[in-house]
Structure formats: structure tokens, C-alpha cells
């Protein structure tokens, strides 16, 4: 996977962690089991990864984030899982392996899970 895309996926996975860490009930349950989560640490990690994203991808991602809770989504069965539009077969073409591609319909950044 393209390094920039891998970073964007990692950021989005951290956003999922952050959501659990900010949910009082889930965070307390996890802490009681011995898995405390630090909101500040996750936010720092996200910021650190964002710094490694090329400016053009970063600004696009941040713009998407204002519109969608899930700006990066997997493609399942040839569909964008954000808007369920068909994704052109070119998405999986080897010539596009090193590109950051987005959904033609909703604009979300796509990746092959």
C-alpha cells in the first residue's frame, strides 16, 4: 500500500480509538479491564502522523473530515463503504497501487482492506 495511504488509514484507525477513549462508558469499561486509554496520547499520535502526510493529501483529508465522520473508507465488493457507489475497476489496477484514490461519488479516500 502507498505509504501516504497507509498513514491516512492509520490516522483513521486512531480516530476510532479516540472515539472509544472519549466515550465515558467504553473508556471506563476498558480501564476497569486494565486497558486505560489516553485521549491526549491518541490526539498527539494523530497529530504526529498528520505531519507526515504530504500537504496536498493532508489538506484534502482535513477538508473531508469536516464533511464526514469517516473520510477514509475500505472498498468492499467493488463499493465505496462511505456512500455505496460503485468503484471503477481501475481502483484495483496495479498501475494505481501507489496512488491515493478517492471515491468519484462522495470524495472519500479509498483503500483496499
Amino acid at each position: 500500500m502507498n505509504r501516504q495511504l497507509a498513514l491516512l488509514v492509520s490516522i483513521q484507525n486512531l480516530e476510532l480509538q479516540l472515539r472509544d477513549a472519549q466515550d465515558e462508558v467504553k473508556a471506563k469499561a476498558l480501564e476497569a479491564m486494565g486497558f486505560p486509554m489516553s485521549v491526549e496520547k491518541i490526539q498527539r499520535d494523530i497529530a504526529g502522523l498528520l505531519e507526515q502526510i504530504e500537504p496536498r493529501h493532508r489538506s484534502y483529508y482535513l477538508r473531508l473530515k469536516t464533511r464526514f465522520e469517516n473520510p477514509v473508507v475500505p472498498v468492499w465488493d467493488g463499493h465505496c463503504t462511505g456512500c455505496f457507489a460503485n468503484v471503477p475497476t481501475a481502483f484495483t489496477s496495479v498501475t494505481n497501487v501507489n496512488r491515493v484514490m478517492s471515491c468519484e461519488s462522495c470524495g472519500r479516500i479509498l483503500f483496499q482492506p
Binding site: 497507509a6 492509520s10 484507525n13 486497558f35 486505560p36 475500505p74 483496499q112 482492506p113
Partner: protein, 167 residues
């Protein structure tokens, strides 16, 4: 009414329900890995087998970032690497054992022998992910059960050990 029943069933999740989320193919009786990174990689391989997920790196990156929050080896000899990822469509559990034990940065500094990896989707109905984690962490507090789980000769016996006493 039906909704309430479904909700109550979710609350009453037990070890049998949790074991439904794994399978023999996702049970590693004897890990080859000798270190933390190797354990995560070997378990990720088992996760990918028979799964529509093909991108191992995505899973590993997520697990490592979760471990960076604090080691998931919280029980004596037991670790629960876990987290949510965009790549998962439903909750998947991989179980692994290491007779020799692996340094997994455990709280007590001892080697880790039993591993339960939980890979959760971004959203899960009934909060299955945290409930499953709770069932497993509670179950693994019993030293006799941990010992028996480690010695069980195969997957069926392992499941039987975990479900013992469930009535």
C-alpha cells in the same frame, strides 16, 4: 418487546458467545514467534486466512498503535491485543498459545503464554467488542483455567476448558 429481548441477550453474553467469534483456523496451538512483533504478525496471518481482509499491514499498524497506548498483556501470562480497524467488517477473535512464553511487555514482567486477539469493526451492534473483551479478561483471571487452557491438546478441548462451568 423484541428489541428488549435482543438487548438482554447482548447483556448476557458469555464465553460460548465469544467462542463463536473464533474458529479452529483462528487458533494457533503453538506459536513459532519469539517476540511481541512476531506474535502479532503470526496472529494477523491467522486472522487473514479465510477472511476478505488482505492487508496485513493495516491490522499490524493498528495493533502496534494500540500497544503503544499500554501493553495489553494485563493478566498473568495472558495478553489481549485488540482494537478497532476500518478493515474489519465484524468482530474477529484469534487465539494463540506459546508454551515457552513470549516477552509481551506484561505488567508483571513475566512471559505471556496465552493470547486473545480481538479485531473489531468501526461500529459494532450491542458493543460486542468490549463485552467479549470483558468476558475473556474475567475468565482468564482463574489460574487453574489458564493452566488447563494452555495444556488443552486441541481446539475442541481448549473450547471445552473455557466453557466448563457454564452449565
Amino acid at each position: 418487546m423484541q428489541g428488549n429481548i435482543a438487548q438482554n441477550k447482548a447483556v448476557a453474553m458469555d464465553i460460548k458467545d465469544v467462542l463463536q467469534l473464533t474458529s479452529e483456523a483462528r487458533f494457533i496451538a503453538g506459536l513459532q514467534a519469539k517476540d511481541k512483533e512476531g506474535v502479532l504478525a503470526e496472529m494477523a496471518d491467522a486472522l487473514l486466512a479465510g477472511s476478505p481482509i488482505t492487508n496485513k499491514e493495516t491490522i499490524l499498524e493498528m495493533l502496534k498503535s494500540r500497544e503503544a497506548q499500554g501493553s495489553t498483556a494485563v493478566g498473568p501470562g495472558v495478553a489481549f491485543p485488540h482494537g478497532r480497524t476500518l478493515a474489519a467488517q465484524n468482530l474477529i477473535i484469534v487465539v494463540a498459545r506459546s508454551q515457552a512464553g513470549v516477552d509481551f511487555d506484561s505488567m508483571d514482567g513475566g512471559p505471556t503464554h496465552l493470547f486473545f486477539m480481538l479485531i473489531a469493526p468501526p461500529q459494532d451492534t450491542g458493543n460486542q467488542y468490549i463485552r467479549s473483551l470483558a468476558v475473556l479478561t474475567e475468565k482468564m483471571q482463574d489460574p487453574a483455567l489458564r493452566g488447563a487452557a494452555l495444556q488443552a491438546p486441541d481446539y475442541a478441548a481448549f473450547c471445552q476448558v473455557l466453557t466448563e462451568g457454564q452449565g
